[in-house]
Symmetry: C2
Subunit: 182 residues, 2 copies
Amino acid sequence: MAFWKKFFKNINMFNQDKNSINIKKEYLAEDLILIKHLENQGNHNDIYISTGKNINLYELEQLCDSVGWVRRPLKKVKLAIDHSFVTICVFYKNNKSKKLIGFARATSDTVFNATIWDVVIHPNFQGKGLGKALMDQIVIQLRYSDISTITLFADPHVVSFYRRIGFITDPDGIKGMFWYPR
Amino acid sequence: MAFWKKFFKNINMFNQDKNSINIKKEYLAEDLILIKHLENQGNHNDIYISTGKNINLYELEQLCDSVGWVRRPLKKVKLAIDHSFVTICVFYKNNKSKKLIGFARATSDTVFNATIWDVVIHPNFQGKGLGKALMDQIVIQLRYSDISTITLFADPHVVSFYRRIGFITDPDGIKGMFWYPR
């Protein structure tokens, strides 16, 4: 567990503000970023983000279950992740356990356009800025590849969230459109 | 030019209706579909669709120029095509020449979702049903892979075109959203 060795080596770099939330970002390894330290009634949780694709599919299924998404065959989920250009996972770790609490992925042509899918934060961890951190990170990854058109399709109840973090609906009258099997 | 041999062998299968347009589809080779025979003042043009990725980038640039799109580096265009899940080209061929007159591509995770980009028909060939044929073909290709969510972002002047061929705007209030570099 080379990562955790590095993780604990770096942990003292994080200062705690009065809300016990620290948003300083430190790169711990190529694809791992420690983003927050949450303290709640004496429990310490460290939140980090990973851009790796080595994702436990059962953990991902549990996470999607937690927000009530329709289940999808794990084999297909694996293929979708393999063929996504960027995947981002959010984990939390305390003394006892490590758990997947957030996820998002983007398909892309790798140079011009990207579309973000399957954005999810576990209900117990919503309202702590983790959705924003997740989205910031996916945008950073896509911008790193110089992708200029970053798109998504937002359910009505999350449109205002995406607006707050800089996404625009129907710019210049451009409309998102869907074709469904009939 | 094995394709053309096969192409001319099959050409007599096409009947001409009174508008000299025939929409009968014949598979000529694995990735080539003869879709229309157009006759205009004695000139015969055969229109076919290709799903191959062996695209002449200069021809594609000329096609995009014809509709006034901003030019993009060919190296990047090549990468985008290589990383698209489906690309569709529309060609016309008469006695004298063969020309790229339509194009579209889709990014996808290969199993769940796809987004269609860069849909273009040369202005001289618009209004002949080729846009619909192009879109039908891209949907067929995506449905062949059992992709259920087929999406696109439509400029205001083409929203009604996409509606006519079965695309829906903002279903259940889902909004297409964009993030642009600031």
